[in-house]
């Protein structure tokens, strides 16, 4: 079987966007770098591909920025939103937790939040991309339903904490966000 490989190229300092029909995807310091998959083992390549597809299907353009100075989802998402021409951004942590944010919102708030990383599916990521794009177009999407599972605590709570700590280790103090371009390739996993 083949696996999709995600490569980030053309790293350059992130600039504020000018076009109002764009959504920014802000990824955390270790995303598709130190880490390669979410808490449940979903490949980062597939996650990003689905988010981008969701945005593209809405005929909205996307840019990806890596936030390097924080592993806090709200910071990642809000920093990206401030760089977004539409003011809309998606924040994405290595373990899979994600949120849709808007420039003018208080940082700790959000448009849509998906706190339960173990319950995320590729379909959900596609919808997240799609909704973000619709917000950027000024439409009113139905919020993506968030799932809940009581037994997620015993199974995932500690691993989530561990992943968060590792990600936090990857922080580069004071480093500015960088814009990157995703490149997907099929690779034979062995």
């Amino acid at each position: 079987m083949t696996d999709r490989v995600l490569t980030f190229i053309d790293e350059k300092p992130a600039e504020p966007g000018k076009r109002t029909d764009e959504v920014l995807v802000g990824i955390s310091p270790a995303f598709a770098d130190f880490f390669s998959q979410t808490i449940t083992g979903m490949s980062h390549a597939d996650v990003v591909r689905q988010i981008l597809a969701g945005i593209e299907e809405q005929e909205v353009s996307a840019r990806i920025v890596r936030i390097r100075h924080s592993s806090d989802l709200a910071v990642v998402a809000h920093t990206a939103a401030k760089l977004s021409g539409s003011g809309i951004a998606i924040g994405l942590l290595s373990r899979g937790t994600t949120m849709i944010h808007q420039r003018d919102l208080p940082r700790l708030s959000s448009l849509e939040l998906f706190p339960q990383s173990p319950l995320m599916t590729l379909e959900t990521y596609r919808q997240v991309g799609s909704n973000a794009a619709q917000y950027a177009k000024g439409e009113s999407p139905e919020p993506v339903p968030t799932l809940n599972d009581q037994m997620a605590r015993p199974r995932w709570q500690a691993k989530a904490a561990l992943l968060h700590l590792k990600e936090t280790e990857q922080i580069v103090k004071g480093a500015k966000p960088v814009e990157v371009v995703p490149q997907f390739a099929e690779a034979l996993a062995n």
Partner: protein, 622 residues
């Protein structure tokens, strides 16, 4: 010697009081008013707490000691309650999956593609012959889909269009060598017939399809004769206004607009009877109601939806009034045409059609209102409370008292009609030059408006519908400004709640409630206003015709609005506009020039009592 009296109006939600002194000549001097939430169900002894409370406060504002209280006047509640029901009377059925018209948000490509439908799996083997439309099931990745289509075209296969299960149209088109129209989100894609001639049309954003929504366009594509064209014309109609659509030509394929046999209504008048089929719609039902009026009772054809509908209304009203179902007699009926979004039978993509429906409101007279019992209880309470020799009288029927009260509105004169459009019923009363009063109670008011809004917007959330009824709309275009329904913009210092962002919201002054769903602000506004027109305006006219001398509205000089609707932000306007042609002055009441639309009944009670006591004195002296 002058008397101290307090008029008290016990309403469903609030209890109002007006304190006054009445001179021996019958002259009235109002001293103070008070208002409090009604305690207990209207007409039950538990009202006493609320009554005692308002009486005391009215006296306090009047500066009169409780001991000096002579008379308390209670309203005779109008013994009516109402119920509602709704029934769909049409349905759209697609046979053989002839048509896909679900209007996905993001179809791909542009233009018209005609060809034979072929399954995705078979595309690789499809010979380079006549054009095909590829049908791609869910689960096929967009890159794979695009790859296969490109491969086929390179082999010379003319792929004219594609139909997708996933929401992938744009993604696929973006990866094609040449653009073709693509429609997606077809949930039951497996139901799309293969090997059939089909057409896919996609229009640009904000535009709608031209060919498939035109009967002759279909005739041209599928080479149909006149007869066949007649058959497919419903398809064309069904697709009008869509941005994208698919039509498949199958042997017996058809789209039917079918009328559901809803059953008939049995209208028993005092002296005439009539039977009317509900599926004929509101106009005919109301015509029949007019014909047999005054109405004695209504029943529905047993074993039909209508039968069930009327039975439910009866039952609900029996429970409410604690009557036996047998004792429940429907004295008025309001039928309203409405439409409810419903999934099309036989649709392959969850197509939704607006089906016609009829909403009914029924009004029932209950036995007595129980006010006498309340009066006795109030007397005991007040006497215990220090008003030793107070008398408590049920002073007059609400509607009549309301008229007398309304007459204290500056600028009014007889003949005058009071319109009280509440939650359950519409009450009207006319006072003629000679002072004679005629009252009427009709079915249908605020609650039915809420139900219509709920149904027509497919909300299934009465709380939200209620909100939409009461409040103006706006759209939160950014976190700092809202575009109001009248086009103006309102700015905010603090960012709006995230839940409101980019959504149509109701603005009740302090809070903002987002309205879920894809409805535009314009659409919601139209539904709200037409709902109000279909109930309030219709009932205003109905009631005026009933009370107007000879049914001639021009005989009425003034209409004063009271009750919940009088405080609504648009209903008074809607009604005034409707009455203007008859030269009627219509507006919200301002009782005694100070109380606004409140306190009419309480003030009326005092006035009528004054009139009567004056009469008594005259009689005594003669």
């Amino acid at each position: 010697m002058p008397q101290t009296v307090v008029g008290v109006d016990i309403g469903n939600s609030t209890t109002e009081a007006s304190a006054a002194t009445i001179g021996s000549d019958g002259s009235v001097q109002f001293l103070g008013a008070a208002l409090a939430p009604t305690t207990g169900v209207k007409g039950t002894p538990r009202n006493v707490d609320g009554v005692a409370d308002v009486v005391e406060r009215a006296l306090r504002t009047a500066g009169v000691a409780v001991g000096d209280l002579d008379v308390v006047l209670l309203n005779e509640a109008t013994p009516v309650i109402s119920g509602m029901a709704m029934e769909t009377i049409t349905e759209t059925i697609i046979t053989e999956s002839t048509m896909i018209g679900h209007d996905p948000r993001t179809p791909g490509g542009r233009g018209l593609g005609v060809g034979t439908t072929v399954g995705f799996g078979a595309l690789a083997e499809t010979p380079a012959a006549e054009p095909v439309i590829v049908v791609v099931p869910r689960g096929v990745d967009f890159e794979v889909a695009a790859g296969e289509i490109n491969a086929a075209t390179r082999r010379g296969v003319a792929v004219a269009a594609a139909i997708l299960g996933n929401d992938d149209a744009v993604l696929v088109v973006n990866r094609l060598d040449g653009a073709i129209p693509v429609i997606d989100e077809v949930s039951r894609i497996d139901a799309v017939p293969l090997g059939m001639l089909a057409a896919v049309e996609v229009a640009g954003p904000g535009q709608s399809i031209r060919t498939l929504s035109n009967a002759y366009g279909l005739a041209t594509i599928f080479e149909l004769d006149a007869a066949a064209t007649r058959v497919v014309s419903p398809v064309a109609r069904a697709l009008t206004g869509n941005r994208s659509a698919v039509v498949v030509r199958t042997p017996a394929g058809d789209v039917a607009d079918r009328t559901i046999p809803a059953g008939s209504l049995e209208l028993k008048g005092e002296n005439r009877r009539a039977t009317v089929d509900v599926s004929r719609g509101a106009v005919e039902i109301m015509a029949a109601v007019e014909r047999v009026s005054p109405l004695a009772d209504v029943s529905g054809e047993a074993g039909t939806n209508t039968g069930g509908m009327i039975a439910n209304v009866r039952q609900s009203m029996a429970d409410l009034s604690e009557h036996a179902v047998a004792d429940v007699h429907i004295k008025d009926l309001l039928a309203v045409d409405t439409f409810v979004p419903q999934e099309v039978r036989g649709g392959v993509a969850g197509e939704v059609a607006l089906e016609n429906a009829v909403a009914l409101a029924a009004m029932v007279r209950t036995r007595d209102s129980g006010m006498q019992a309340v009066a006795a209880a109030v007397a005991d309470r007040l006497r215990a409370g220090g008003a030793e020799d107070v008398e408590v009288i049920v002073g007059g029927v609400e509607a009549e008292m309301a008229v007398l009260g309304a007459l204290t509105t500056p600028g009014t004169d007889k003949p005058l009609v009071v319109l009280d459009l509440g939650g359950g019923s519409t009450d009207a009363a006319l006072i003629e030059i000679d002072g004679s009063i005629d009252a009427v109670h009709l079915a249908g008011a605020g609650d039915l408006v809420t139900k219509l809004i709920d149904a027509e917007l497919g909300l299934d959330n009465l709380e939200l519908a209620e909100d939409i009824k009461r409040c103006p709309l706006g759209k939160a275009e950014s976190f700092f400004h809202v575009r109001l329904e009248n086009g103006t913009v309102q700015f905010f210092e603090k960012p709006l709640p995230a839940t409101a962002f980019a959504r149509v919201v109701t603005l009740d002054g302090h809070s903002m409630n987002p309205i879920p769903g894809r409805h535009s602000m314009e659409r919601i506004r139209t539904v709200r206003r037409t709902a109000k027109e279909r109930i309030f305006v219709v009932n205003a006219l109905r009631s005026l015709r009933t009370v107007a001398p000879g049914g001639d509205l021009r005989q009425i000089g003034f209409v004063v609005l009271l009750g919940g609707c009088a405080l609504d932000f648009e209903i008074p306007q809607l009604i005034a506009d409707a009455l203007a042609p008859y030269g009627i002055v219509c507006g919200t009441g301002n009782i005694r020039g100070t109380e606004g639309p409140r306190n009419a009944v309480a003030s009326g009670l005092v006035a009528s009592y004054a009139g009567r006591s004056a009469g008594v004195l005259v009689g005594g002296s003669g």
